[in-house]
Point group: C2
């Protein structure tokens, strides 16, 4: 235990950087913890040892009762909130964490009250052990040989991180989308360690359509000649074409039809890169004609520069595989019986990737087990993306919920 | 005119093949007509000469008043109804036309009463002049240099075919999806030549989301190294990877989430190719795990063997560009003012590609112009695909409508 305590002290990272001239921002510092103990995976494989990257915000109270674990979705990381500083102590522009609207000092998940932990999942490309790292058994980069990891494996690894941070029980576990699946899995794998679970824009499993979109994205990556069976690192290539297609598909499914029409509609983009609704068509099959095409290509290009192809395969597969009811003949109520936490579920009316109906399935199954469940269905136009956006009703619901969480 | 008449006589193809031992099927024979007159295209380019492939079913009456033109959608052809025979006079299995449920003797569009014409669009890969043919100006295969064609260009070419068949006025023009856009365009470009228009599962233009899906499919094709800038024919390659991805995306959008869940759900497919819901997961990112993956890969593989990549680009672009309201500042009612036809519109409740709301926009704009409009919204689970399926309510609506069409 003393070793755990020391590790924890080393890992405290929240800084209010007093030298900043404008309102003090929450400054984040990524940390890495190494785990020597092998991790047995759901697949039967195991990881001999591994690192987890994480960040924390706020201060763990003396009772160690105010910790909130935030789980990330497909392309996010442990950098949940705050900003990064450069070597000169200046805020790096656009370095805000992916859920910075949700948590920080005075925000819905208030880091003045809670000690928030963001952790990067195994298999990621943002710090925790993943396919870009070296397999200690072979001395070679893992690549496509990195073992398939599941939501349950991530929870297992996260639990070990909490052990090392000296946190026996979480005030709450929280996540959106795939992160919500992890929050749910926490309540099943470690029911005594979770007092509250906040599950946003999530689902008890993927539908056939969800799996279908994942599969098309994976096929685009795997059939890119630059993928080289997943060992592209040693060929000095990146399957950018596949990653671009994967990301474009993803973006379509994150947005609602309505918000796409509102943001892009049938607007044209001029050859010079300007929006120009009323210019004549160019009559080209390959050049950008519509604004939505420009947006998607840009998103695809950006993604292909920073995201790892093997990570994409692994994380979409973790999504596909998650299905707690499967071991119970499809009976979700039976599957959720171990949960002891209180729940807040939130869904968004125009989210067709993880629709409100899927959240309602979870609500029903939890109520079947006499769990304490709050559920908010937010009428938002933004589709699945809404869970990352600044909607006052949504943020208000989460704030009220956390205000009631006793420490 | 005498030349037109002769051409028409040569082109009559409907045969009841008396030698067949079972119920006489409608037998189709594809025909090709050559057009020497250049076709000026919307883009400003022109086709010097061209062929149109077509089929006809039923008999043109003496008054020439019973012709119905059927327009096809993305991956279909002039082979609308009936079957093909092999050299021995036997029916070729699975050779039914793509709308064989809808038209034929005694069917909703009854070929005992109507003379039905199916025509393949310019730019296609199924017979009419397209990118796989030789550009007469260069002696080279067109490839990516085939000019961009629009819905309006297709209607223009179809009108010339009708001229040659000696048909001054159509009893009806009919189409689903992109075919419905052509039917609508017919009523605007040749209002005096169309008495009825049957527009099924269509829209006044594509939404941003529709364009987005088209764009991802096109990018998958164009960035396939085997595409070679659209001149893959001369490299002896086919951009199969891109075509597969395009088709997989297409299939997802043709089906509803509901029907996908019903047909595939989270069913697994065994390594031996059998559906096996309860076997353990294989924990692989690249092997087929779920039944839906198997289905999509199969559809993609099939498509890549028969469909031309440049045709895919051209036809999706024709979809993107169609927007009759564009020339009227987005005012659809003004755009549809020239129409003189009576209309039947049909949409399907779970069609999220061309939703009922889009058909209702058309209904409203036609009513604004005091047009005679019948509209049926069919509560069908099958998504966009429903327009090709055998739903008794849907077929009943179309049958009733055609029963009232006077000749």
């Amino acid at each position: 235990m003393s070793r755990t305590r020391i590790a924890f002290e080393r890992c405290r990272v929240l800084l209010f950087h007093e030298a900043m001239s404008f309102a003090q921002p929450l400054v984040a510092t990524p940390q890495t913890m190494h785990f020597e103990e092998p991790l047995a995976l759901t697949s039967g494989a195991s990881l001999r040892d591994y690192d987890l990257s994480f960040e924390t915000y706020g201060t763990l109270n003396a009772e160690r009762s105010n910790a909130v674990l935030v789980c990330h979705a497909l392309n996010a990381s442990h950098h949940v909130a705050g900003v990064y500083l450069n070597a000169q102590g200046q805020v790096i522009p656009r370095s805000e964490g992916w859920w910075d609207t949700m948590m920080g000092p005075g925000k819905p998940l208030d880091t003045n009250r809670f000690f928030v932990i963001g952790v990067n999942n195994l298999g990621s490309c943002f710090g925790s052990t993943g396919p870009m790292h070296v397999n200690p058994d072979t001395g070679q980069v893992w690549g496509a040989d990195f073992p398939v990891v599941t939501v349950e494996d991530w929870v297992h690894a996260q639990a070990r991180l909490l052990d090392r941070l000296g946190i026996a029980q979480l005030a709450a576990v929280m996540g959106g989308s795939l992160g919500g699946m992890q929050a749910l899995a926490w309540t099943l794998q470690h029911p005594e360690r979770v007092r509250h679970a906040v599950v946003v824009a999530s689902a008890p499993n993927l539908t056939a359509e969800n799996i279908a979109f994942n599969e098309v994205a994976r096929r685009a990556i795997v059939t890119d000649p630059d993928f080289h069976g997943g060992h592209f690192y040693r060929h000095g290539t990146i399957p950018r074409r596949g990653l671009r297609i994967a990301r474009m598909i993803g973006h379509i499914t994150y947005l609602s039809d309505d918000v796409m029409n509102e943001k892009f509609g049938r607007q044209l983009r001029s050859l010079a890169g300007e929006v120009a609704a009323n210019r004549p068509y160019q009559f080209s099959t390959q050049d950008i004609e519509f604004e939505i095409e420009s947006y998607l290509r840009h998103q695809g290009d950006k993604f292909a520069e920073y995201f790892d192809a093997n990570t994409y395969l692994l994380i979409t597969r973790a999504l596909d595989y998650f299905d707690p009811a499967r071991a119970h003949g499809g009976d979700l109520s039976r599957a959720l019986a171990p949960a002891r936490a209180q729940f807040l579920l939130v869904s968004f009316s125009t989210d067709w990737r993880f629709s409100p109906a899927r959240s309602r399935e979870l609500v029903k199954a939890l109520l079947d087990n006499q769990r304490d469940v709050s559920y908010a269905e937010i009428d938002a136009p933004h589709g699945h993306d809404a869970f990352l956006l600044e909607d006052p009703r949504y943020l208000g619901v989460v704030r009220s919920y956390f205000d009631k969480v006793t420490l």
